[in-house]
Amino acid sequence: MMTDQLLIILALCIPTVAAILIAVTHNNVNLRETGTLLSSVCLIFVVYNLLQIVLAGDQPQLFLLKFLPGLAIHFKIEPLGMLFACIASFLWLINSIYSIGYMRGNNEKHQTRFYICFAVAIASTIGIAFSANLITLFIFYEALTLSTYPLVTHKGSEDAMRAGRAYLGILLSTSICFFLPAIIWTSVLAGNTEFTSGGILDNEMNHCVIFILLMLFSYGIGKAALMPMHRWLPAAMVAPTPVSALLHAVAVVKAGVFSIVKIVTYIFSPALLAEVVDFNLLLYLAGVTIIVASIIALQADNLKRRLAYSTISQLSYVILATALLAPISIMGAALHILAHAFGKITLFFAAGSIYTATKKTAVSELDGIGKVMPWTMGAFAIASLSMIGVPPTAGFLSKWYILQGAFSVESWFAITVIIISTLLNAGYFLPIVYAAFFKKPSDGKKLDYHEAPFAMVFALTVTSILTIVLFLFPEIPLQLVKMLVGNMI
C-alpha cells in the first residue's frame, strides 16, 4: 500500500522537479534538454507501475492536505484518470523530443521559459488526472490555465498578447463564473465533492436543479470548447506549434473534456441523468458545435486554424458521447480522447515541421509538398484518416463504440451528426492530403526545401504509427475503459 502513495507523489513531483531542474540549468542548453527527456522517461516509468496496480484492480489513494472542513486535496486513481495520465506522460516525452527539434530548427528565444511552463503544465495535468474530488480538480485546472498562459504568449508580439488575453479571459472567467459556483452548489447539495462511482447526487433533488448544475459544469469547463466558449482555441493558434500540440492534443483540451467525462460519470452518474434530464440540451449543444466547427474548418485556409476548429469539433464528439449517457458510449468517449490525442498531435507536428522546413502556413501553398517531405505528409495522411475514423486507424475504434451507444439509446440526432461530421471531416482533411501528394507545385518551380529536422520527423512518425498500432492492439486501453464502465453499471 505504501508504494502506491509513494508512486502518486512521485508522479506529481517529477514534472515539478523537472521544472526546477530546467530553471536551474537554463544556461547550459544540452543539460536542460537531457533533463527534460530524463524526467519524462521516469514519469513514464512511474505511470507504468501505477498502470499495473490499477489494472490489478485496486485504486491507490493519497490524502495531501485538508485545508477546510469539507475540502481536501485528495488523489485517487480510477481507470479514466489512469488512461489520461498515460496519454499525458507518454506524449510529454514525444512532445519534448519534437520541441527540441523545433526550437533548434527555428532558434526560438525564451526556450527555458517554454520548457518550465511545459513541465508545470504536465504536472497539473497529472494532478487533474488523479484528482479524487472536485476541489483538487479545480485547483489543478486553474494551475493548468495559468501555466499555459506564458506558452500562448511565447512570442510576446502584440497579437500574441491579444491572444493570451482572450485565452486567459475566457478560461478564467468561465471557470470562476460557472465552475466554482457549480462545485460549491454540489458540495451544498451533496455534502461532499468526492468522485464516487455511481455519483453523489441522488434522485429526489428536484430535477431542474440537477439540469442547471449539469449546464453550469459543461460551460464552466471552458477548456472543453463548447460552441459559445470556444473562441480561445483559434486565438491560441498564434503560439509556436509544440505549444499548440500541447494545447490541443496533450494537456489543455484533453483536461477539459476529461473533467466533463469524469464529472458526468462520477458526480451525476449516467443512470441518474438519464431519468432526470428529459431535454438533453448538452447532446444538442455538442452536436451543433461539431457541425458548425467543421463547416468553419472547411473554409479556414490557415492550416493551424483549420486544425484548431477540427479540434473543437472532435472535442464535442467526446461530449456528445458522454451526453448519450449509455455505458458503451462513455467507453467510446474515453477511447476518443485517446485516439484524438495521438491523431491531433501528429497533425500539429506535421504543421510544425512544414512551417520549420518551408515557412508555409496556408493550406493553398502546400501543393506537391508530399514529394519533398514524404514522411511528414505520410504521417499527416494517416492522422487525418484517424480523424475521419476510417478502419485502419484508432479513430474508427472510438467511433464504433459511440455509434453502438447511440443505437442503444436510439438517439437519431447523434447518429445523423456523426454521419454528417464524418463527411465534413473528409471534406477538410482530404484536400490537404490530395494537394500534398497528387498536385504538382502550383508555381511550377522545383521545390527546393527538404524534410524537417530528424527529431521532429522521428516524433511525427512515432505518433502516426501509434495511431495504427492502437487500432491493431487496443487491449490495454480497452481493459481500462471496461473497468471504468464496469464499476458504473
Binding site: K399, L403, Q404, I418, L423, Y434
Partner: protein, 553 residues
C-alpha cells in the same frame, strides 16, 4: 494469428504496398505473378472458416470460403491478372499499387466471415479506389474523386451504423443472410446498395469512372460494384424490394446510355444496367436466380473489362473521349475493334457468347416464378442492352462516319490482354459447364435449346433493326445529362452560398447597430464625474431620507 499466411486478399494488399519500390520488367513480372499465386492458393484452399482473430472482444473470421466466394475470388484474380497485363508498362506505379490494394480489399471483403472485418476492408476498398481516380492528377479527376470518396464515406458510415445497430440487437457479428426488418439491417442494406450504384445515389459511378486513367477504369469497374453484388447475394437473397430496384437500375442505365456522348460514360451506365440484372436475380432469390446473378457477375466482369480495355486503348491512342469526334477507327485499329465487338455481343447476351449463358438464367428464374411483368421487362431490357451497348458503342466508336483519325494499334501487351478476355468470353459462351461447375448451387439448366436461341436472336436482331431505323434520331450532341448528383453539386453549393452570405451580412448589420449605440461612452461618462464635497453631502442626505422613509412607511 491462426490463419494460414495465404490469405489472398492480404497477399494482394501487401504486394500493392511493395509495387512502388519496383521498376521496369521486375515490376511487370511481379505484377503478373501475384494474381496467379492468389488464384492457385484459393483453389487448393478447403471450404469452411479459417484464420480467426480475437479483437475488441469479438471473434473476427478473416476467411470464410464457400462456392459463392470462391467464384468471385477467381474472377477477381483473373481480372487483376489481365488488368495488370493490360497496363503493366504504361501505368504509373502509384495507380498500379492502388489497384492491387483495391483488389486485395475486394477479395478480403468477399472472404470476410463477419461484419466487422467486412467493414474494415470495405473502407480500405473505398480509399484505394479514390487513389486510383486521383492518380491521373487532372482537375476533373480531383473533383470527381472528392465526390466519389465523400459518397463512399457516407455509404461506409451508414454501413457502420447498420452493423453497430445489428451487433447491438443480435449480439452476434457473423455475416449471415438477414431480412431487412430491423433498423440495423435496413441501414446495412442501404450501405450495400449505395456501393452497388442503386438509386438515388447512382450518379457517382458515371461521374467518377470515366475520370480515371485509361487502365484505372478497368480495375474500378471490376471490384466495387461486384463486391456489393456479392454481399447482397450473401446478405439479402430474396428480398422482394431488390427486384424493383434492379429493374429501375436497368432502365436508368439504358436511358442515360442512349443520351450519353462520352464513350466511357456509356459503358459506366451499362455497368449500372448490368448490375441491375444481378440485383433483380438476387431479388427473385430462387436457387436458379442466385446462380444466375453469380454467373452474370462473373461474365459481366470479363466482358465489361474487355469493353473498357478497348475504349481505354482508343483513348490511349487517340486521346479523345467524346463520340462526336470518334468514328471510322476500324480501318486502323482492327484488333481493338473486333475485341470491342465481341465484348458488345457478349454484353447483349448474343448466343455463343458468355452473356447469353448467364443472363438467360436470370430470365429463366423469373419465368419459373411466373413473374410475368418482370419477365416482360427483362426481355425488353436485354433488347435495350443490345441497343445501347451492343451496337451503339462499337458503331459510334469504330464505324459511324469517318472522322479521319487513323490511330494505329495499341501496344502489344494491351492487345494480348484484350484478345485473352475475348477468347474467354467466347469459350464460356460455347462451353457453359466450365462456368456452371463453379456456381454455388447445383445447376440443371440447358441454355442452348433451339427455342431459346431463336427467340433471343429474333429479339436482338430486331432491336438492331430498330437502331438502324432510328439512327438519325440518335445523333450525338455535345451535352451531358443531369442526374441525381445535380442535388449535391449545384443545389448544395447554392444553399451554402445563400447561408454564408446571409450570415455575414446579418453579423455586419448587428455590429453596426451595436457600435452606433456607443454603450461604453455613456457608462464612462456617468462614473467619472468628479464628486465635489457638496455633492457628497447631498448624497448622504438623500441616502438618509431614503432609508428613513423606507423604514417608516
Amino acid at each position: 494469428m491462426t490463419c494460414s499466411l495465404f490469405h489472398p486478399g492480404l497477399l494482394l494488399i501487401l504486394s500493392g504496398l511493395i509495387i512502388p519500390f519496383l521498376q521496369g520488367t521486375r515490376r511487370t513480372l511481379f505484377v503478373l505473378l501475384i494474381p496467379c499465386v492468389a488464384l492457385i492458393s484459393i483453389w487448393n484452399m478447403s471450404f469452411g472458416t479459417a484464420c480467426s482473430i480475437q479483437y475488441l472482444d469479438y471473434e473476427l473470421t478473416l476467411i470464410n470460403l464457400d462456392a459463392l466466394s470462391r467464384i468471385f475470388i477467381t474472377v477477381f484474380a483473373i481480372t487483376v491478372f489481365t488488368g495488370s497485363l493490360f497496363c503493366c508498362k504504361q501505368a504509373k506505379s502509384k495507380e498500379l499499387a492502388a489497384a492491387f490494394v483495391y483488389a486485395g480489399g475486394a477479395m478480403s471483403v468477399v472472404l470476410a466471415g463477419d461484419l466487422l472485418s467486412l467493414f474494415i476492408f470495405w473502407e480500405l476498398m473505398a480509399l484505394a479506389s479514390t487513389l486510383i481516380i486521383w492518380s491521373v492528377q487532372t482537375e476533373y479527376s480531383w473533383r470527381a474523386g472528392m465526390r466519389y470518396i465523400v459518397i463512399h464515406l457516407l455509404g461506409g458510415v451508414i454501413l457502420m451504423c447498420g452493423i453497430s445497430a445489428y451487433v447491438n440487437e443480435t449480439g452476434s457479428i457473423l455475416f449471415t443472410a438477414m431480412q431487412p426488418n430491423s433498423i440495423g439491417t435496413w441501414l446495412i442494406l442501404c450501405g450495400f446498395l449505395l456501393n452497388a450504384g442503386a438509386p438515388p445515389l447512382t450518379a457517382w459511378l458515371a461521374d467518377a469512372y470515366p475520370e480515371a486513367s485509361f487502365s484505372g477504369t478497368v480495375f474500378l469497374s471490376a471490384f466495387t460494384t461486384k463486391t456489393a453484388v456479392y454481399v447482397l447475394l450473401r446478405g439479402f437473397p430474396g428480398t422482394e424490394l431488390l427486384v424493383y430496384i434492379g429493374l429501375f437500375m436497368i432502365f436508368y442505365g439504358i436511358i442515360y446510355a442512349l443520351l450519353e456522348n462520352d464513350m466511357r460514360r456509356i459503358l459506366a451506365y451499362s455497368i449500372i444496367n448490368q448490375v441491375g440484372f444481378m440485383v433483380v436475380g438476387i431479388g427473385i432469390g430462387t436457387e436458379m436466380a442466385l446462380n444466375g446473378a453469380a454467373a452474370h457477375a462473373f461474365t459481366h466482369i470479363i466482358y465489361k473489362a474487355l469493353l473498357l480495355m478497348s475504349a481505354g486503348s482508343v483513348l490511349y491512342m487517340t486521346g479523345k473521349r467524346k463520340c462526336t469526334d470518334l468514328g471510322g477507327l476500324i480501318q486502323s485499329m482492327p484488333v481493338t475493334a473486333v475485341c470491342g465487338i465481341i465484348g458488345a455481343l457478349a454484353i447483349s447476351s448474343f448466343p455463343l457468347t458468355s452473356g447469353f449463358v448467364s443472363k438467360s438464367m436470370v430470365t429463366q428464374a423469373s419465368v419459373d416464378e411466373h413473374l410475368l411483368w418482370v419477365w416482360l421487362l427483362l426481355q425488353a431490357a436485354s433488347a435495350g442492352v443490345f441497343l445501347h451497348a451492343g451496337i451503339k458503342f462499337p458503331w459510334f466508336v469504330f464505324f459511324q462516319k469517318d472522322s479521319g483519325l487513323r490511330p494505329d494499334e495499341p501496344p502489344i501487351n494491351m492487345q494480348m490482354a484484350m484478345i485473352f478476355f475475348a477468347a474467354v468470353c467466347i469459350l464460356i459462351g460455347i462451353f457453359p459447364d466450365f462456368l456452371y461447375g463453379m456456381l454455388p448451387y447445383e445447376v440443371n439448366y440447358v441454355p442452348y435449346t433451339a427455342a431459346h436461341t431463336l427467340t433471343q436472336l429474333q429479339l436482338l436482331l430486331f432491336s438492331g433493326l430498330a437502331f438502324f431505323v432510328l439512327l438519325p434520331l440518335m445523333k450525338r450532341t455535345l451535352t451531358i445529362s443531369l442526374d441525381f448528383d445535380w442535388f449535391y453539386r449545384k443545389l448544395a453549393k447554392m444553399i451554402s452560398i445563400f447561408i454564408l452570405t446571409s450570415l455575414c451580412n446579418f453579423q455586419s448589420k448587428l455590429s453596426k447597430k451595436v457600435s452606433a449605440l456607443k454603450p461604453g461612452y455613456y457608462i464612462d461618462g456617468i462614473l467619472n464625474i468628479r464628486f465635489s464635497l457638496a455633492m457628497g453631502m447631498g448624497l448622504i442626505m438623500i441616502v438618509f431620507i431614503i432609508s428613513l422613509s423606507y423604514f417608516l412607511f
